[in-house]
Amino acid sequence: MGKFSGFGITLKQVFKKPVTTRYPKEKRPKPERFHGRHVLNRYEDGMEKCIGCELCAGVCPARCIYVRGADNPPDAPVSPGERYGFVYEINYLRCIHCDLCVEACPTEAITETKLFEFSFAHRADAIYTKNELLVDDEGHAKRQPWELWLGGEDDETSAWMRATSPSGAAAYEGRIVWSSELGVGYRQPEQGQRRKKAD
């Protein structure tokens, strides 16, 4: 029967549960540190977090962020303080999703979601401006016509900041030291890597 043992393997597989995911209707969970496209967050009172400081633009190794600041109009301030992000653009034909911009941001204004499924027919579409990047009044990412994602998928972020801590001190692990977000509130700390290993 030697020559039929191969069919045996096939036969065994037929009765196993299939691994196929019915993408895009169903999606597999993404890893915790997965980096997708960015959003510009707002505070819970609706103010923009971005202060136009250009630190993200300065750190970006792909040089794909363009920011310009401006004086906050005193009667209708866009962000708390003197300065706000007047122009904000990311070119997704160049972004390598390294998350360095997120690390550089002093106000947690720019974060990366796990949304990654988009394809452009025009170069101009690949340049996301404040219009596309800024979260809507409910705090959700604005879905672009060429983006493919399901409701709720945008709730996840790439979570680096919730794993690290000021000055890298372990004493801060698990403590909330970031600002709250419109529509989300305080994001919970990511489980520290040290604790994960111990589990």
């Binding site: 136009g52 003197e82 300065r83």
Partner: protein, 913 residues
Amino acid sequence: MTDVNDVPKVERPPGVPMSQWPSAYEYVLPTGAPGTVTLTIDGREVKAQTGDLLIKVAQDHGTYIPRFCYHERMKPVGMCRMCLVEVEGMRGMQISCATVVADGMVVHTQSDAARQAQDGVLELLLINHPLDCPVCDRGGECPLQDTTLAFGPGESRFVEEKRHWEKPIPISELVLLDRERCIQCGRCTRFADEIAGDALIAFGSRGAHTEVITFPGDPFTSYFSGNTVQICPVGALTATPYRFRARPWDLSAVETSCTTCSVHCRGALESSSNRLVRLLGVDSEPVNHGWLCDKGRFGYEVVHSEDRVRHPMVRKNGELVECSWPEALDVAAEGLKRALELNGPKSVALLGGARGTNEDAYVWARFAKGVVGTDNVDAQLGDGIPAEVALGLPEATIADLDRAAAIVVVGLDLKEEVPVLYLRVKRAAEELGVPLIELAPRDQGLTRYASTSIRSLPGEQGETARRLADALGGARGTDAGADAAAALLEGRAGDIVVVLGRGDLAESAASTVRAATELARLPQARFIVALRRGNVRGAMDLGLAPGFLPGRVTLDAGREWFGHAWGSVPATVGLDAEGILRAAEQGRIHALMLLGTDPHDDCPDHALAEGALNAAGFTIAIDAFVTDSTKRADVFLPVTMWGEKAGSVTNLEGRVQRVGQKVSPDGTAMPDWRIAAELALRLGVDFDLEQPEEVQDEIARVAPAYTGIDSTLLRRARDGAVAPVADHRDELVLGPVSIPLTDARWEPIRPGLDAVELEDAKTANDEADALRADRLTSVAQSAGAPPAPALHRFTGGVTDTAPPARDAYALRLVTGRTLYDGGITVAASDSLSELVADPVLLISPQDRDRIGVEDGAEVRVTSARGSLTLAVRADAAIGTGTAYLPFNLPGSGVSDLVDLSTAVTDLRVESLS
């Protein structure tokens, strides 16, 4: 923080006056007798001069001691304590910025005690310092950030609430103050007081509540306020035009000269995303000591004005409509050809050229004189000093002011016209003790620093100068004022530096020429001809003046030489601006080229300019803006502006320096000189010039005063070259002395050279020596060329006629320029246009009472030419019998009153109430 440590050590020759020291960063307040001391800094033995400050000696020998309040161009005050060092044998820590070196001193800048002191000072400074870095204009180039990183503690122990102030408050139209960020170093207040002489900011309150304040109702409206923003070691002072426009890491810089006025202060011009955003002063010892005036600092905004003309235009059916370059150039060339065929070269004229570079001036001069064949060319507008005088007087440099026996200022208000030269004269008079003699019709900017002020009525300047020259020449006893001035010179050797300008545009130029003639009789007199307009000196030097050819030679002297170089030159001497305008008015100018000039607004005689522009034939405008003059053009050729083109310019002392290109223009504008070359091509002459460097090389070959000043020399000369270079060999500093421009923006920024010069100091030095020797010996002499013509010398000029008697009811008009005027630089830049004042007629209190008007009342002012209605105010600075009205303010209309053909302008002032 490596920048300052890279400063190469420069030996200062003993016994040489400060202004001749080889390096710009060798300035120390002179104290004590000259001598040498030896001391030890961090274990290294170094030599220094008596009286030098420890912080400076250490820096020059490669040890950077952190500092905030110390600035090389100001007196030390010891406010911040950042510069503490340990000196063996002295009790406690010493502030090195106020410690004078002594023989045998042993200094430790990095000992444990010194480090602890630095930590402590920084921790204390940061107690009340906000965490504003991300939104602070200084962030990224901040001395406090850098110093904390290099010398400070890693963490603060201070957890309490910080001191709070209202966030930025305006202290002037251009400067905002954030008191939370201020570290009370006193740089700004000291600058305002010591350097600018406008002590309008000071410290108020005590302790942690110390703040920089302005006096109630008296904002910091200094012409030099932008300098405080540059030298503030934190982001406490921000400039409204730059605020939030960019961050330091997205700027790139090019070294250039400001050409807003003719001083040509050195600056680092910075841009981001093809937009100019900032001009910082570069510390050039012979020119500007690092300072800029606000008009120069913020005037870059004009480059990006919405109103710039971006494409060529031709007139079709009465309208200027956009067209292609070939079409516009063809139309222009056709127009010129037609005028030449019908009426010959005498019917063609060129006005302007003072706003461009030397390359622009030279190629246009070659086009007008060598191709078109007309000598009706003038870069001035009847508002200057004739080229025979301006180009032929014995010259002084700006640095000569520091070591002069006396300074004589004739006419102009330096503060309004050439502000940074004003700072230099003020410093010479106030700090270096040079007697300052002022000849002016009224009290003006410099009057309070003058040792003696001689008031002269309009039209009498020549006569006043004669009396002064007599007294200075030894013939005393006729005039008490002149005798007093002459007495100031007793026991002082050296030159008398005369700063000559047109203080009063209502008075004819003959008066100024006469004054120059009188003073030039003194053997020790040397002149700085202070004409304001950007590159007017370069334009005249390179042939944009009637009767002159490039390189300060007259048409007659240079006929053969330029005939050889160019092929042909005009047959006879042509008309100056006044003559051109008159000829145009009479319909004798059939083609008029307006090279970046606006006679309608800038000519003192409005009726003449208006008549001329209306009657002129075919008009070609070569300009960046449609002005009241250029709107009448038949062809409009748009040009690139400062910052958009590279080249060289010549300042009022004859110093040729490079200007850099930082951005490219929107649209299709071309450099002026290229347009001339294109037109020449259409008239059948190929100049074969492609790059500005090629033009520089041609100038160095053919223009006698510019012999040797070619592109290589200009690239290598740190402070530029004073023409003629053979007479100014000591001014030529070649070779590797440089910190790249991008560093240390709050410290005096040093003039840079091309990066390649830095690589190998030794070879570069040898090369420099060779280059220098070459430039000083060889006069370019090609085979078969005629002998080089001699440079023009002024040998006395027109005698002015005595002004007509003034009747008792009339006031004699004085009209001078103000810094913020109606010119395009101010009008087209958003921040500066706010600063223009309303025109007011100023008269003396006595005259006001005689006429019987209140301050602020409207009066009717009538001259033989026209009349105006405007507000009047009494001012004690105005002499009785005169009336002062600023020239070229929007709405002042003073040019409606002036007739260029009369010696003076008398006014009737009638009350309207």
